[in-house]
């Protein structure tokens, strides 16, 4: 892929999350540097945190890793919601709470770049959820049910619907 601003190959793939809709940029090293230092692409806000973090991360990932390995990381999908890391990079939004676990190795450097910390020290819910396992299970089952309907596997879909209802009524009681 060529840089969007010159003929050289694009080595930086930046997802700009600040302002309006996420925007993908493919730039060579020089243009990437110019972009990232020029108060984040003409926004009067100067909120370049996320874009800079993603770019730096791609650079870090590129060191000592082949293109195949990069592609493999991008293709990795969350077992709960099915979103790939590539989809996250292009939309700038995660698919479900479990992504923070599924993409932990990719997300941690990014979070570190944005916040400078990895540990929450603020308030906590008074009643912490008993088992987060059960909750992500619900997300997974609802997705499977939808797919079963789409693939006309109605028996499986009915089974799943009943299981989901059981879990939901358990929680309510």
């Amino acid at each position: 892929m060529k840089c969007q601003q010159c003929e050289r190959p694009a080595t930086f793939h930046i997802t700009e999350l600040t302002g309006g809709k996420p925007q993908e940029l493919h730039l060579c090293e020089d243009h990437a540097r110019t972009y990232l230092t020029s108060s984040s692409g003409g926004e009067p806000t100067g909120a370049g945190g996320m874009a800079a973090a993603l770019a730096q991360q791609v650079q870090q990932m590129a060191i000592g890793q082949t293109a195949e390995e990069l592609a493999r990381l991008d293709q990795q999908a969350c077992p709960v919601c099915g979103i790939t890391f590539y989809e996250f990079r292009s939309q700038g939004r995660l698919g479900c709470p479990h992504d923070y676990v599924a993409f932990q190795p990719q997300l941690e450097p990014l979070i570190m770049n944005v916040h400078g910390e990895l540990e929450h020290v603020g308030k906590r819910p008074h009643c912490t959820p008993g088992s987060s396992e059960k909750r992500t299970q619900l997300i997974r089952m609802r997705r499977e049910m939808k797919e079963s309907v789409e693939n006309e596997k109605y028996e499986r879909a009915t089974e799943l619907r009943d299981q989901i209802r059981r879990i939901e009524t358990d929680q309510a009681s």
């Binding site: 806000t45 979103i83 939004r93 709470p97 979070i111 929450h120 603020g122 906590r124 619900l138 997300i139």
Partner: protein, 359 residues
Amino acid sequence: MELKELTQSSGEWLRGNGPEADIVISSRVRLARNLAEFPFISRATPQDRVQIERILRESIIASQVSADLLYIAVDELQGVDRQLLVERHLISREHAEGQGRRAVAIDKAEKFSLMINEEDHLRIQVMQSGFNLHSVWEQINAIDNAIERKVTYAFHERLGYLTACPTNVGTGMRVSVMMHLPALVITRQIEKVFRSLQKISLAVRGLFGEGSQAMGDFYQISNQITLGRKEDDLVQQVSDIVPVIIDYERQARQFLIKESQENLHDRVSRAYGILRTAQTISSEETMHLLSSVRMGVNLGLIADLQIADINELFIHTQPAHLQKRTGNELGSVDRNIERARYLRQYLSHEDGAQRAEKN
């Protein structure tokens, strides 16, 4: 309550009182929360959205956060009504322009709004006139606690509250103040202020949030970091910097008075004159002129106007407010004529006297 009633009044954040209200329009805190058992909005099916909306609606109503709650199905509103809510800062532009089931719960004094199915499942925001972030934080914390008793938020032991965008993870909290900084703009010092704010991880945005231009010399200053600090510390960080900026703005105003009192008085008086006599006027020009008039009132150069009135004019001259008040859909040419008519009427002295009697 009809949405049209909103056009007769102004919300809490425009009251024009509270500490430092000449420069700090309002203080605001918002929290991003998600339900643990649903995907984030980008992966939510239409059925997921319906369920999220139902669960949150029931929880909000059951948690009795306000005796006077207005619940609005945003996806069922006309475009002009959605725009009206954006102009009053009760919903975001993203929420107005979004798709699928979504809603907002507002208390009738417009002190808070709860957006459902925006970028996150729930976005709570509390607003207050003037500079008082600590009080706003206390109020929003109470609302958050009340709703949390009814639902299970997505929460990670180490990372805190989980949000659709990793820039909000941890506290999910954005603390912001809206400031009116015309003298820093005139003296061309505003860029310098922004650069120093960026160095300490604070963001600057325009009147209508992300991506919006700084219309009418209004700037929102907020925290960028949401993880690794306590909520109180985030409130404190913004609270510490605001007096410094207020001081810069006051110094710039004094400089303008000292160096060119006549020029400044002329600028303010001309702005007031145009607003009182124009026959057609755009939204941009209105904001620009109101900004000068607002500073003129604060500096005692205009005696017959109140800050609350000018704050109200900034919002009431926006497109959706004009259209709701006339009851017609208006193209931009007609809006400019209607805006000028409204300004003339509002600012004419007879009307001013009437309002003074009423108060």
